[in-house]
């Protein structure tokens, strides 16, 4: 490596890229730049409010007044269910939320799947029927909630009225005044609203199943039930996972329906965590306590997501691989 080779022009000094050049032209950084706007939006509108909410739950903030840090005090007042002195109303709302979510989600799934399979048949006026099914989902929640509020009214219920005039009962059914009736009424209203979303999404999934699979199965002698159990259902699981995750999240965080119909009554037996959080944070002004309840929803939601994610995600055999 000598410099004295004849005829060689000395090489120009190698220009080392500066850190700024790297940021500008390096492919890895370029990827980062393209993602940055999306990340900024996520951080600003999702991560920041969530973080702020969690922070509020550690303070004694009131509406219009920033609080000071009080550690876990808000959570201590909520307590744990087996404590002798826990917050009964809060834990009742947890119980209500779980009952509401589990019952409504299961029924919505069953009815939604059934509807989807029906709609997947060759029916006359197929397009029209499919759009009609969507109506409950299209009506604004508050409107349908008010309609249900009248349907379940203690004096003017159309159901009570009809049954009385048919001579089946001689009193008004206490729909929203009895704790269990009220829960059932609300769950019914939620199901009525939520079924179309599930039905239409599953219908989309059903239509992606290739008819040749059914043909093959039928040739092998599969019954209708076996067709469903061993062809349709496995191919549908990925979309079920997605749709049920959404359904559970929406149901768990439902607010408008409850607020318009019962405001959490009678005696808090229909208070969900979301409505209780609103009542304590906004109406009673204790932002910190409300934020603690809202934050307490996060673990339940994470758990629900995990279950559907790991329990129902696509398996390798669905793409032709071996199940591990």
């Amino acid at each position: 490596m000598s410099d004295s080779v004849a005829g060689r022009v000395p090489a120009p000094a190698v220009r080392h890229p500066t850190w700024w050049d790297r940021l500008r032209i390096n492919r890895n950084w370029l990827g980062f730049w393209f993602m940055a706007p999306a990340a900024a939006i996520l951080i600003l509108f999702l991560a920041f409010p969530l973080g702020k909410g969690v922070w509020l739950s550690f303070t004694d903030a009131k509406i219009g007044r920033a609080g000071s840090f009080i550690g876990l005090e808000n959570y201590e007042w909520l307590g744990l269910p087996w404590w002798r002195d826990s917050d009964g109303v809060f834990w009742l709302s947890v119980f209500n939320t779980l009952v509401y979510t589990i019952v409504a989600s299961i029924v919505k799934f069953a009815v939604g799947l059934y509807l989807a399979i029906l709609l997947n048949q060759n029916l006359p006026f197929k397009a029209a029927i499919r759009s009609i099914v969507l109506i409950p989902f299209v009506v604004p929640t508050v409107l349908s909630a008010i309609a249900f509020w009248w349907i379940f009214d203690s004096q003017f219920s159309i159901i009570s009225w009809s049954l009385r005039h048919l001579g089946i009962i001689d009193y008004n059914i206490n729909f929203l005044g009895d704790p269990n009736n009220a829960r059932a009424s609300l769950i019914f209203a939620n199901i009525w609203r939520g079924v179309p979303f599930i039905a239409i999404t599953l219908l989309a999934g059903l239509q992606t199943v290739s008819p040749s699979l059914y043909e093959a199965a039928t040739l092998d002698g599969a019954s209708k039930w076996q067709n469903f159990r061993f062809v349709t259902f496995p191919l549908l699981t990925p979309i079920i996972a997605v749709v049920m995750t959404f359904s559970v999240l929406f149901t768990f965080t439902d607010f408008q329906l409850i607020w318009a119909m019962t405001r959490g009554g009678p005696v808090n037996s229909t208070h969900l965590m979301a409505t209780l959080s609103y009542q304590r944070a906004i109406l009673a002004g204790n932002l910190g306590e409300g934020a603690a309840i809202a934050t307490a929803m996060v673990p339940f939601l994470l758990f629900a997501i995990m279950v559907s994610w790991f329990g129902l995600q696509s398996r390798k055999w669905q793409q032709g691989g071996e199940d591990s």
């Binding site: 109303v89 929203l176 005044g177 405001r263």
Partner: protein
């Protein structure tokens, strides 16, 4: 009140009768000449008030404000919000130092941020002296530590609404005056198939008002005067037993009732006795339901074992923020609103929905023109304040918003909890708020 004499009565009675917009303007101009609070040059005010319930009240209010603007040159912007939204907005304004100059809100609003309120000692003194003095509840809502921080413009009375014929047929000539007689009436009405009911659901107005009456009439209180939780007492237990006995005479479904449920049920004839503001009567008249309007009347809440009125009525205090650029204009408007020439026609237009906080307005014709309105005249005098015997601050407001007392009664009445359990649950909630 001591300052209540014949002279103030005459003043309160002056300028009665419907006064047209022209009359209002003439008065406003004359008033502006002698007014002691001269609005700042170029002043304009923003005022946030609760959304109207009676159209005529709102019209009269706007006419009055309009005359004020014409007479003083001070522009006043009025914005309306529903009951539930006033407090959050006012709190944010108090905290950030910007927003409306004046807020006309509910209950304890000025007590949430007394240091941010414009002191209105002079306005309150002026009005009190001129109009026969403030009722005690008005002083409690308007003052913080003895200093006036707001002008309690009006109260809203909620009373017992009943069908006269049904009461008579149940063997009662007059409405009972005490809790014992009241229970007998309820039992008799149920026995005669006249359904009765009071809201036991999360009904902000109707539920809170009758449940607090029931608790206080037996001597039970959520907190004592130092805001220590004293709910767990024999008096509370007695109140619970009393309300349970009442509840057994109710029509089914009251645990689901909200503020509008009893209005609907009463007007449709499905309920013959309930607790409500004057709105049922007003609606019956407005919708030409003569049969119901003629057959119904109002009664004061019966006196309980404690031997004195223990009602719980809504208060509407008006405050100005101390960040306002036009404090004199704010004070002028406050004083102007409560002058007899303005207040009397306004009170009439409200048709019993608003009750005066100043003694001199007792002889406004709205209270005597229709004897069925008379009960509402004393709403401001007979009411206790939001904290019972405790303070009127944000904790009392939170306890109301959390329905602690309503839920306590509902828990026991519906059989979800026994007596001790109901009290314990409510006590626990109160301890959380009053910690």
């Amino acid at each position: 009140m001591s300052a209540f004499n014949r002279r103030s009565l005459i003043k309160g009675g002056a300028a009665l009768g419907a006064m047209g917009a022209a009359g209002l303007l003439d008065f406003a101009k004359a008033w502006a000449q002698t007014n002691q609070w001269k609005p700042e040059a170029g002043a304009s005010l923003n005022m946030l008030r609760w959304k109207r319930f009676v159209e005529a009240e709102d019209k009269q209010f706007m006419a009055m404000i309009d005359a004020f603007t014409k007479a003083t040159g001070v522009k006043v912007n009025i914005s309306n919000e529903s009951f539930d939204d006033i407090q959050p907005k006012a709190s944010v304004a108090a905290n950030t130092g910007q927003g409306p100059d004046l807020v006309w809100g509910l209950f304890s609003l000025p007590q949430l941020f007394p240091a941010k309120c414009l002191p209105v000692e002079d306005v309150a003194d002026y009005l009190g002296k001129k109009y026969g003095g403030w009722v005690p509840a008005a002083q409690a809502y308007g003052q913080f530590q003895g200093k006036w921080v707001a002008i309690p413009v009006a109260f809203n009375g909620g009373y017992i609404n009943y069908r006269i014929s049904s009461m008579n047929k149940s063997g009662f000539k007059e409405f009972p005056k005490d809790t014992g007689g009241f229970l007998e009436l309820c039992k008799a009405m149920k026995a005669n198939n006249f359904p009765i009911g009071f809201a036991l659901g999360h009904a902000t107005g109707d539920g809170n008002s009758w449940c607090h009456w029931a608790l206080w009439s037996h001597g039970g209180y959520l907190v004592d005067k130092d805001d220590k939780v004293i709910l767990n007492s024999p008096e509370t237990a007695k109140a619970l037993e009393y309300v349970k006995a009442l509840y057994d005479t109710f029509t089914p479904g009251t645990a689901s009732w909200n503020d509008s449920s009893n209005n609907k049920a009463f007007l449709s004839g499905d309920v013959h006795l309930t607790g409500n503001g004057i709105s049922i009567y007003a609606a019956a008249n407005a919708q030409g339901m003569k049969a119901i309007a003629d057959d119904m009347n109002h009664a004061q809440w019966p006196i309980g074992p404690v031997g004195k009125p223990t009602e719980f009525q809504l208060a509407f205090p008006l405050l100005a923020f101390n960040f306002t650029k036009y404090p004199q204009a704010c004070k002028a408007l406050m004083a102007y609103m409560l002058e007899a020439e303005n207040y009397n026609p306004w009170l009439e237009a409200a048709a019993g929905y608003l009750t005066h906080p100043l003694n001199a307005y007792d002889n406004n014709p709205v209270w005597t023109k229709d004897p069925k309105n008379t009960v509402f005249r004393d709403a401001a005098k007979r009411t206790l304040t939001a904290g019972g015997v405790g303070s009127i601050g944000e904790k009392a407001a939170a306890a109301l918003a959390d329905f602690i007392v309503v839920d306590m009664f509902a828990n026991y009445c519906t059989g979800r909890e026994d007596l001790k359990g109901s009290i314990r649950v409510a006590e626990r909630q109160a301890q959380r708020l009053f910690r």
